[in-house]
Amino acid sequence: MTALSTPLVPRTRRSPRNGRKWIFTIAVGLVALLVNVPLLNALLVSFKPTGEIAKNPLSLPTAPTFDHYANVLYASGYNFPQFFLNSTLIALGTVALVLLIAVPSTYAIIRLGFGGRWIINSASGLRLLPAIFFVVPFFVLFSAAGLQDTILGLIVANTFLNLPLAIILLASGLRDIPNEIEEAAAMDGASVYRTLLGIVLPMLAPTMVAVSVLVFIFTWNDYLFALVLSTSNSTPVTLGAANFVTSTGIRWGDISAASFLSTLPPLAFAVFAQRYLVSGLSAGAVKG
């Protein structure tokens, strides 16, 4: 992290005064606020009483209320808690299935010479192909296999979407681990499986955490496959958060509360697991 403290563009030879530093604080602060305007606006609207939402769109809530959150969580007919549970199950299930498939196979590819470089390259290539291509065949396949509108079906679909990234990240994580320890273990007669479980997995743990965080977020955020492959039983929040349109009108307050609640899990990761996220996203992008 030493690089953080050295300015990249050399400024004039004088050492920077404190006043100039604050200019950056203000400029970057404004950008940070600007990109979060939709989120902050939703948060504000969610605390406004229904009458106030249309009356003063620009003001802060004068009489903050938790009514919308109560509606979203407890009012009958909305099913929002069910959507939230569905999203959680789909995301956790996908993380588990992705790791279960990707960790052993990436180990076999990188360390045991299975297949070779082309599998990693195919993974990189697959990540670049448009997901929309797979929507129709998945719909047909899932209808035939009884996976349509099931949690398991969406776990499978999201595993498909996220496997390439997981394999790429795990492969680069594995290459970072020195091979000597595994070779020594093999000399001592440890089996491949014992080496993988006892030696490699603990060292690969940080990469696995990064993969888990990214896969969780991407799965939570999926919309296209949920739109096609779920109708009611497996509906996740990305689809369900807009369901607050009733015969009496659009319930903007409830929608804002639901959409804000729905972004909380990914946002929590963004704040508390930022280290993994930044390394995962940039490594996934920057390494191949």
Partner: protein, 295 residues
């Protein structure tokens, strides 16, 4: 060649460990690829997929209707504009944050938040912000004496560009910023000693070294922009008319609104075939970025 017992065990283990991946890939990657390709040449609908082969009928129908070409044009134009803006702004932002100043950690985290928000949910939030009755932006414009209908045919495309830039500049920023962190500081000191000003250092020292990272950010964003679906579908559903129909929205609608699986699969196949030639090139470009060499 005779294998030793150890080698044979290793091979057996590698096959066993790869089995889950191979099984999954066969069922959910290879099979859908083939099935999708096949559907493109069949008279297949949402109700009946047992359709017979109809040669290139689907492709003829696809190119006869102007919807496909129009959505392809919109997608490419939209992507070119947003990616250009996001690259410039992301690069600028990365340079801006590449120093210490009070509040940097907090703002860095805040800038990354939009990447984590589901595009579909962000679409809903944009609706809250932009709605003519309750939105803050129309209220603000109204307060300034402007009466702009944000979703009218003339302003909807610029609007979508702004929204895309708001969400994805943080992504290009992150990639470029990560690249800057591995930048060899001596290079800059050397160029500063040679009397190069900030701008010359930027163009002649930073950009060449960062080129692989800039390429990676550019290609990843381009690929993502080309398949844009969520935000636009939630906000405009491709309208008004078909003015904001991206390729993904076109294919989705062909399949699940018109129910014509054959046509949708044909459109998807055309898109796939157009993209495939670029894939090896991009994979190579991304694989050869400087950050890997740093190890």
């Amino acid at each position: 060649m005779a294998l030793t017992a150890g080698q044979r065990k290793k091979t057996a283990a590698s096959v066993l460990l790869s089995l889950p991946l191979m099984a999954f890939a066969l069922a959910f990657i290879v099979y859908p690829l083939l099935a999708g390709g096949l559907t493109a040449f069949q008279a297949s609908t949402i109700f009946d997929q047992s359709g017979s082969f109809n040669g290139i009928q689907n492709f003829i129908a696809l190119f006869r209707s102007d919807g496909f070409a129009k959505s392809a044009g919109f997608t490419v134009g939209f992507s070119a504009i947003v990616v250009t803006i996001e690259m410039v702004l992301g690069f600028g932002l990365a340079l801006l944050l590449n120093r210490t100043f009070p509040g940097k950690k907090l703002f860095f985290t805040m800038i990354l938040l939009p990447i984590m928000v589901a595009p579909a949910l962000l679409g809903i939030m944009f609706r809250l912000l932009l709605n003519g009755d309750i939105g803050a932006v129309p209220a603000l414009l109204h307060g300034m004496g402007l009466s702009v209908s944000l979703f009218s045919p003339s302003s909807v495309v610029p609007l979508l560009v702004v929204l895309d830039v708001l969400q994805w500049t943080p992504f290009t920023f992150l990639i470029i910023y990560a690249g800057l962190q591995s930048f060899p500081g001596e290079l800059l000191e050397a160029s500063a000693m040679d009397g190069a000003g900030p701008f010359r250092s930027l163009v002649h020292v930073i950009m060449p070294v960062l080129k692989p990272v800039l390429f990676a950010a550019f290609f990843l964003r381009t690929i993502d922009a080309l398949r844009t679906f969520d935000v636009i579908y939630v906000l405009t559903a491709g309208g008004p008319g078909t003015s904001t129909t991206t390729l993904s929205i076109y294919i989705y609608k062909a399949a699940f609104e018109s129910g014509d699986f054959g046509k949708a699969a044909a459109a998807a196949l055309v898109v796939l075939v157009c993209l495939i030639p670029f894939v090896p090139f991009i994979v190579k470009r991304i694989a050869s970025t400087g950050i890997e060499a740093q190890r």
